[in-house]
């Protein structure tokens, strides 16, 4: 029980810090630390995501960042895909699904590294640009 609470807290902190959703942490956490099988872990992760996304999007909406009509459209339009995805997951064996999920984790890791390196390059370019402005030569 303490393990589950710790997983939730840690996953939430990373989600808030990096904007990478809870699911990619909930699922391996539920498998590795709570001993759920891959199917149970995925299903349980989905339900755990709902309150987190609800609170997060409420805050984002107050900042005016949510395009409400598109969010609602995407949510409602996802229902066929979601049902098909769940049906497909339940057709696959636990080990195939687990290996595919490990692949997804590697993709998310690569996305994070790429995003970080691009942000660093942009920051470095901005600093170089600032140094090159004429104002710098006045002092």
């Amino acid at each position: 029980m303490i393990g589950a609470i710790a997983i939730g807290l840690a996953a939430g902190i990373v989600a808030g810090l990096l904007g990478v959703g809870g699911g990619v942490l909930f699922v391996p956490g539920l498998v590795i630390f709570l001993g759920l099988d891959q199917h149970q872990a995925e299903a349980t992760s989905l339900l755990a995501i709902v309150p987190v996304a609800l609170v997060g999007s409420y805050r984002q909406d107050r900042y005016g960042n949510v395009h409400r009509a598109d969010a609602l459209a995407l949510g409602l339009l996802s229902i066929v895909g979601a049902a098909a995805g769940v049906a497909l997951a339940n057709e696959l064996s636990g080990s195939v699904l687990r290996d595919a999920f490990a692949g997804l984790m590697l993709v998310v890791a690569a996305q994070l590294v790429d995003r970080t390196l691009r942000a660093r390059r942009a920051a470095a370019a901005a600093r170089a640009g600032a140094r090159a402005t004429p104002e710098d030569h006045l002092d």
Partner: protein, 124 residues
């Protein structure tokens, strides 16, 4: 978002929604790693709006997928509550920390944790 609307916008929304649903249902995740890049690439969103809109869409997507998983009897309600409720507090802490910490190094560290967890998952 810009006032000019790209052609085939409804078609693109259908495609993104369906792909995100498939991804979410198959992997038990929200689908943000599909939605965010596609909103930027296909619908001209900037990153902040894409992330926020994706998060709001995920409320519905994850709820649908969880409901279908519930029909298969795979949802563990107690564990979902034990993980999901502390995660709300975690998100608030993480968002607060984001304004005060250099997130780049943390992102790289976290990428390493993901790779290690993926290896652990496969080798179990």
């Amino acid at each position: 978002m810009s006032a000019e609307r790209p052609p085939w916008r409804p078609g693109k929304l259908v495609a993104i929604g369906t792909l995100a649903g498939l991804f979410s249902g198959l992997f038990g995740v929200g689908g943000g790693s599909v939605i965010v890049p596609l909103l930027i690439l296909w619908l001209g969103y900037e990153e902040r709006g894409a992330t926020a809109t994706s998060l709001a869409a995920i409320v519905f997507i994850a709820a649908f997928a969880a409901a279908v998983q519930g029909l298969y009897g795979n949802v563990n309600l107690l564990d979902a509550a034990l993980v999901g409720i502390p995660a709300i507090g975690g998100v608030l802490i993480g968002t607060w920390l984001q304004q005060r910490l250099p997130t780049g190094s943390i992102a790289l560290l976290f990428a390493l944790v993901l790779v290690a967890s993926a290896v652990e998952l496969v080798l179990r």
